[in-house]
C-alpha cells in the first residue's frame, strides 16, 4: 500500500502531462489533419474517378485505375515526369554540395562577417518567389536582358539567346533560379551543424595525425548526417514540386513542363475536359509516390551510413 500510492501518483502525473502534451499538439494536429491528411485522402479517392468541375452536367463516376493507366500513355505527362526528374537529379546534389562547400568556408568566420554571408545567401529564400522570378525574367529577356547584353559585349555570342523561349536553354535557366532560391536554407543549416561539431573529437583526430580532409570526412561529416538528410529530403521535395517558376516564366512551354505544373494545368485550365479533376489527382498521387520512394531511399542510405 505504501508503495502503490507513489506509483498511482506518478501515473496520474504522467497522464496529466500526456494530456497537456496532446493539447499542445492539438492546434497543429487540427491543421495537419484538416489541410494535409483529409485532402490527401480526398485526392487519392478522386484519382479513381472522373471528377470534374462541371458536376451539374457531368456526374462523377468511379473509373477504377483508368486515370493511372492513361497517365503512362500521355506523352505530355511523360515529358513532364522526365523534366521533373531532371530537375531533381541536377538540383539536389548541386544544392547539397554547394551548400556544404559554402557552409564549410564560412562557418568559422566570426560575428558580422558570418551574418553578412548568411544574409546574402538567405536573401533569395525570404524574398517573394514572384519578385525573384520577375527579376530573373528581366535578366533573361530575349531583347533587352542583361545576360544577353553582357555575353554580346564580351564577344561570346553574336545573336541574342532566347533563354526562356528556346528549349535548349529554358529548363536549365529554371534550374539555375531554383538553385539560387534553394541554397540559402541549407547553407544556414550547415553553418549551424558545423558549429555544433564536437571540437574535442576534431582535436583528438588531429593529435592522431588526421589531415583536414580526413577530419572532415571521418569526424565532421558523420556528425552532420542528420542535417544532410534533412537537406536532401527537403530539396528533393521542393525540386519535385517546382511550380511557381514554370507558371511565371514559361507556362510549361519551351520544354519546361513539370508534373506539378501539369497537375495545375489539368485541374484548373482544362476544365472543359471530362474527368480533369480525377486525372489531375491521379497525377498528384503518382508524384507523391515518387517523392515517398525517393525520400525512403534517402532515409535508408543515411541510416546505413
Amino acid at each position: 500500500m505504501a508503495n502503490s500510492s507513489p506509483l498511482k501518483m506518478s501515473r496520474a502525473l504522467q497522464r496529466r502531462e500526456n494530456i497537456a502534451g496532446y493539447l499542445f499538439m492539438l492546434p497543429s494536429l487540427i491543421f495537419f489533419i484538416g489541410f494535409v491528411v483529409i485532402p490527401m485522402v480526398i485526392c487519392i479517392g478522386y484519382g479513381f474517378t472522373d471528377a470534374n468541375m462541371n458536376s451539374k452536367t457531368a456526374a462523377t463516376t468511379f473509373v477504377g485505375l483508368r486515370n493511372f493507366i492513361d497517365l503512362w500513355q500521355d506523352t505530355t505527362f511523360l515529358l513532364a515526369l522526365k523534366n521533373t526528374f531532371l530537375i531533381v537529379v541536377v538540383s539536389v546534389p548541386t544544392v547539397c554540395l554547394f551548400s556544404l562547400w559554402v557552409g564549410s568556408a564560412i562557418y568559422h568566420l566570426k560575428g558580422p562577417v558570418l551574418s553578412a554571408f548568411r544574409c546574402i545567401f538567405y536573401l533569395p529564400v525570404v524574398t517573394g518567389s514572384v519578385a525573384v522570378t520577375v527579376v530573373w525574367k528581366w535578366m533573361y529577356d530575349n531583347y533587352t536582358g542583361i545576360l544577353n547584353y553582357v555575353l554580346k559585349g564580351a564577344g561570346l555570342i553574336e545573336e541574342n539567346i532566347n533563354f526562356l523561349g528556346d528549349e535548349r536553354f529554358a529548363l536549365w535557366c529554371i534550374i539555375l533560379i531554383l538553385f539560387t532560391t534553394s541554397v540559402g536554407q541549407p547553407i544556414v543549416l550547415y553553418v549551424s551543424a558545423l558549429g555544433n561539431v564536437d571540437t574535442t573529437l576534431i582535436e583528438a583526430a588531429q593529435v592522431d595525425g588526421a589531415n583536414d580532409i580526413q577530419v572532415f570526412w571521418k569526424v565532421k561529416w558523420p556528425q552532420m548526417m542528420p542535417t544532410t538528410l534533412y537537406i536532401l529530403v527537403i530539396t528533393t521535395i521542393n525540386s519535385f514540386q517546382c511550380f511557381a517558376l514554370i507558371q511565371l516564366l514559361t507556362q510549361g512551354g519551351s520544354g519546361t513542363n513539370t508534373v506539378m505544373y501539369y497537375i495545375y494545368y489539368t485541374a484548373f485550365k482544362l476544365t472543359e475536359q471530362r474527368g480533369h479533376f480525377g486525372y489531375a489527382n491521379a497525377m498528384g498521387v503518382v508524384l507523391a509516390i515518387f517523392i515517398g520512394i525517393l525520400s525512403a531511399i534517402q532515409f535508408k542510405l543515411a541510416k546505413e551510413k
Binding site: A20, G34, N162, L164, S254
Partner: protein, 458 residues
C-alpha cells in the same frame, strides 16, 4: 500544471475558432464571396433607393480587365451610380487574365461563385454556360433588344440550344499595328495605306524586309509563350492565305490546311520575324511600345487610345514614335477578317433567386439602359447596340469614330465558342513553339490540330 492546461486549452480554442473563420459555406446574400477590392462598393453620397423585397441588396461582380473596364477609377463612378439608383451594393473584384480563370473555377468548385461576371463568350457561353453554371438571360432580351443589338454579338452570347449566357455589351475588331515613324525611316511608307488600313501580303513582307534591313534584329514576333493575345497570331496566319480555323458549326478545328501550313512556312523563313516562345500578347505590346519591336500583332482600339496602358498619349510609343493600326495582310489586300472581340455580362446560377434578380438588374442597368453608353465609353471599345431605351449610343472620341469606320466592317466571325476552346488555345501556342523550334511544319500542324479536335470531343 494548471497554467499549462489553461494555455493548451486556450490555444486549442483559438485554433478551432481560426479554422471556423477560414471555412466557407453558408448561403444566400450573407455568404457573398470576398472581394479583394471593395473600394467600389461604397454607395454614392445621395440617399440610395431601396431594392425590391425579392431582390438581394448586395451583389458581387468580377471583372476581367477588358479595355477600360480594367481601370477601377474609370468604373467606380458608374458602379456608385448604380448603387444610388437601385440600392444594391456592389462588391467589385478585378481579375487578371493570368489567373482569373483559376479564381473563377475555384469559386465554382467551392460553390462560391460571384453573382455577375464580365468577359467574352468563350468563357461565359462555351465553358461555364454550357456546363450549367450560368443563368439563361433570354428573358431579358425582347424584340426591341433583338433589333438594337448587333446580331453577331447576340449570336456569340447564345449557346447552340438558344440560351443567352452573355448579354453583349461591347465589341472590337482585333488588328495589328506598325511603328509608322520607323516605317518612314526605313522608306517603306508606300506600303501603308492610311485611308483604308488594308494591305497585301506582298506589302507586308516588303515592310518587314525594309524594317529588318534598316534596324536589324526582330521586327515582329509570332509570340507563343502562352495563350495571352493569341488572337493576334491566329488572325495573322489565317488571313495570309485566307482560311478558317474552325468549321462553320463551331464543333471542330480545321486549321490543318495548306493555307495555314504555307503561312507558317512563309513567316518562319522571313528574316525579321521570330517565333518567340518567351513572349505572350501583353509582352509583345510592351516590346512594341518600348520601340524594340516595330510591329505588333496584338492590337485594338483600346491599345491605340492608350498604348501599353501607359498613359503616355494616343497612338505613340514610349519614345514618341507614331503608331498606326492596320488590318492583317491578305493576298489581295482586300476583305481581311480581323479578330472578333465580344464582351458582356453574365450571371452565375448561385441558386439564390434574390441574388440572381439583383444580378439581372445590374446587367440590365449596364447593357440595356441609358447607362449603356457610359458603360461602352469606359471600355474604349464599341457598344454592341445602336440604341438602348430610346437613347442612341455613339462614341464621341474621334479616334474611336475613325477606328470604327475603318476596322469594324472587317470584324470576322466569333469562332472562339468552338467546343474545347481552352484546350485548343493551348494546342495553338504549343504548335507555334514547335514550328519555331524547327519541327516539320506540316506534321506539327496535323498533330496539334488533332489534339485540339480531341479536346473538342471532350
Amino acid at each position: 500544471m494548471k497554467v499549462k492546461k489553461l494555455l493548451a486549452g486556450a490555444l486549442a480554442v483559438a485554433m478551432s475558432l481560426s479554422l471556423a473563420a477560414c471555412g466557407g459555406g453558408g448561403d444566400a446574400a450573407s455568404s457573398k464571396p470576398a472581394a479583394s477590392t471593395p473600394a467600389a462598393s461604397q454607395p454614392a453620397a445621395s440617399t440610395p433607393a431601396a431594392p425590391a423585397d425579392d431582390v438581394a441588396d448586395a451583389i458581387t461582380v468580377w471583372v476581367y480587365p477588358v479595355g477600360g473596364w480594367g481601370d477601377e477609377a474609370k468604373v467606380k463612378p458608374l458602379i456608385d451610380k448604380f448603387t444610388a439608383d437601385t440600392g444594391i451594393k456592389v462588391s467589385m473584384e478585378w481579375l487578371a487574365y493570368a489567373d482569373g480563370d483559376d479564381k473563377v473555377n475555384s469559386a465554382l468548385t467551392g460553390n462560391n461563385a460571384p453573382d455577375v461576371i464580365m468577359e467574352g463568350p468563350e468563357r461565359l457561353v462555351a465553358n461555364w454556360g454550357v456546363n450549367g453554371h450560368m443563368v439563361d438571360l433570354a428573358d431579358m432580351i425582347d424584340a426591341t433588344d433583338r433589333q438594337e443589338i448587333l446580331p453577331a454579338a447576340l449570336a456569340a452570347g447564345t449557346s447552340t440550344d438558344g440560351k443567352v449566357y452573355l448579354y453583349p455589351m461591347f465589341n472590337v475588331a482585333h488588328c495589328m499595328a506598325v511603328n509608322y515613324t520607323a516605317v518612314k525611316e526605313a522608306g517603306a511608307e508606300a506600303n501603308i495605306n492610311l485611308d483604308t488600313r488594308t494591305w497585301t501580303v506582298e506589302q507586308f513582307d516588303a515592310t518587314v524586309k525594309a524594317l529588318h534591313d534598316k534596324f536589324g534584329g526582330t521586327v515582329a514576333a509570332v509570340f507563343c509563350g502562352g495563350q495571352g493575345g493569341d488572337q493576334g497570331t491566329r488572325e495573322l496566319i489565317r488571313n495570309r492565305y485566307g482560311t478558317k480555323l474552325t468549321n462553320a458549326e463551331h464543333t471542330a478545328y480545321t486549321w490543318n490546311t495548306p493555307e495555314v501550313i504555307n503561312a507558317l512556312t512563309d513567316l518562319k523563313n522571313m528574316p525579321g520575324i521570330q517565333f518567340d516562345a518567351s513572349l505572350q500578347g501583353g509582352d509583345e505590346i510592351a516590346k512594341f511600345y518600348q520601340g524594340v519591336l516595330k510591329m505588333a500583332f496584338c492590337w485594338n482600339a483600346a491599345q491605340q487610345l492608350d498604348p501599353n496602358s501607359a498613359g503616355t498619349g494616343e497612338g505613340k510609343t514610349l519614345t514618341g514614335d507614331e503608331i498606326v493600326y492596320m488590318c492583317f495582310p491578305t493576298q489581295e489586300g482586300k476583305n481581311p477578317e480581323e479578330g472578333s472581340g465580344v464582351w458582356g455580362l453574365g450571371a452565375f446560377d448561385t441558386g439564390d433567386a434574390a441574388r440572381i434578380a439583383a444580378a439581372k438588374q445590374f446587367i440590365k442597368y449596364m447593357c440595356d439602359s441609358e447607362n449603356c453608353s457610359q458603360a461602352g465609353d469606359i471600355s474604349n471599345f464599341f457598344s454592341c447596340r445602336s440604341m438602348a431605351e430610346g437613347v442612341e449610343i455613339k462614341s464621341s472620341n474621334p479616334l474611336l469614330v475613325e477606328y470604327y469606320g475603318k476596322m469594324m466592317p472587317y470584324m470576322g466571325e466569333y469562332y472562339q465558342i468552338t467546343n474545347g476552346w481552352a484546350g485548343a488555345r493551348t494546342e495553338w501556342w504549343n504548335m507555334l513553339q514547335r514550328v519555331g523550334a524547327g519541327d516539320d511544319i506540316a506534321a506539327t500542324v496535323a498533330k496539334y490540330e488533332a489534339n485540339a479536335n480531341a479536346a473538342a470531343a471532350g
